[in-house]
Amino acid sequence: MRLGMAIEMKRCIGCNACVLACKAEHFLMPGVLWNRVIVSESGKYPVVSKHIYPVRCNHCAEARCVDVCPAGATQQRDDGIVWIDDAKCVGCRYCMMACPYQVRVFYSGENEEYFPGQGLTEPEKLGQKLFPHQKNVVEKCNFCMERIDAGLAAGLKPGVDRDCTPACVIACPTKALHFGDMDDPYSEVTMLVKEKRGRQFHPEYGTDPSTFYID
């Protein structure tokens, strides 16, 4: 099994629902983003194009972050998910340097409150219990592996069943994000990539990303 994602660019409206879903799912602190929607413009007036790219960890098959981690904290599972064991992370940030997509963040613990100086709100307190984040370690998207693991244990299928699919994919109102097993030739994500000629993000880096973009 190789879990991956396909993103239909024409469907993405840049609403940031995926970003908020991720924040809510993992109780991310202020300033910490595991995924982003980046927007750029190219061309000159009157021929101008707007580009909206939802980006997150590509869970590369040849992940450079895994290679460079000196402490073995960044690991790759058999299903291709690249994750960080924050109990092992020494905070050297070499993985952040090595990632050409710059999708990792360092959480220094400086900004804990969404309302600075007013203490933690009840949801923030709850988040610290449900999804505690270690300070001074690197974080990134983990394809909601807790959801996937729980879903697989319950006999569900990634990308098909809601409880076995990343939060960002579920939240997308235009169904621009697709998730599933890239090794399964009949999975929705594989069919989409084949039929609509999905392309990897910056293949020149030689990382073989598991996220595909469909123009």
Binding site: G31, A71, Q102
Partner: protein, 299 residues
Amino acid sequence: MIQSRPYEFMVKYTPQKEWIERRGILLWLAFFFIELGAGMFFVSSFYSEKWAALTGWLICAVLGGGTHLLYLGHPTRFWRMLISSGWKKSWISRGLFFVSAFLLLGAIHIGLLFADTNMMPLMIAVDVFAFLTIIYGGFAMNYVNGIPLWNTALLPILYVVSGLWGGAEVTLAMSLAMGTDTIGPSVEEWIRILLMGFILIMAVYLVSVRYGSKAGEVSIKEIAFGKWARLFWIVVVLLGIAMPAAVVITSFSVGLEATPVPLIYIAVLCGLLGDLATRYLILRVGFYHPLVPSSVYTY
């Protein structure tokens, strides 16, 4: 750090920040001290200069190792880098192994030097690890293929030359200060060769990066004509290269004995400042390519 406009992230040429801003500044100092100390040890070991070797060892262990540890998010977990299998592919992990081996064997070697004994096989082993200690930082940065300024084979060579050059300079200054200047002319030859090598490699490095990629071009323009131009031209070129070169030419013409000692000290200080500034610039203007197509290519 909270970004005011997260949607513009990586739309332009984006400089790396984690290895130079805030606590990242410690990493800049760590690489400098580690390589300077190991370089000093390497050069002084050829002359059995025990005090210079000890000073190099201390610079590497205390200043280099200390700043390295302080930089880490979790310094108390540093031992994980030794016991994990990260050394198979990670240059940081390999670096820790090299530094540890250098410091351990180096301590034994210095101990023997103070007992007026010199074991040649041990000295060779220590020098090998000292050399690897100097070079690993360059390889660690060279592995980062997203930053063209770093992703060049010339970077480790530049770091080796600058580490040895700085080490030779401080060794010379120490020998002059302690009155053991019998090694002076010989170390001066090291400095002449390394300085010429540094100038040559630096020039080739900058030109090759400039014409290698667009992000490389942005980096070099930022160094030579942009925000950091003053630091480059005044500290790196004028103080760090021209000043030591002038003193080297003077000593070559009139002899080291006839060269005023304060001038040599000033040249050593300027050389070290230039080395520090060079490393700062290389870390500071390490630009990543934009992830998405954009007309806005300004920094």
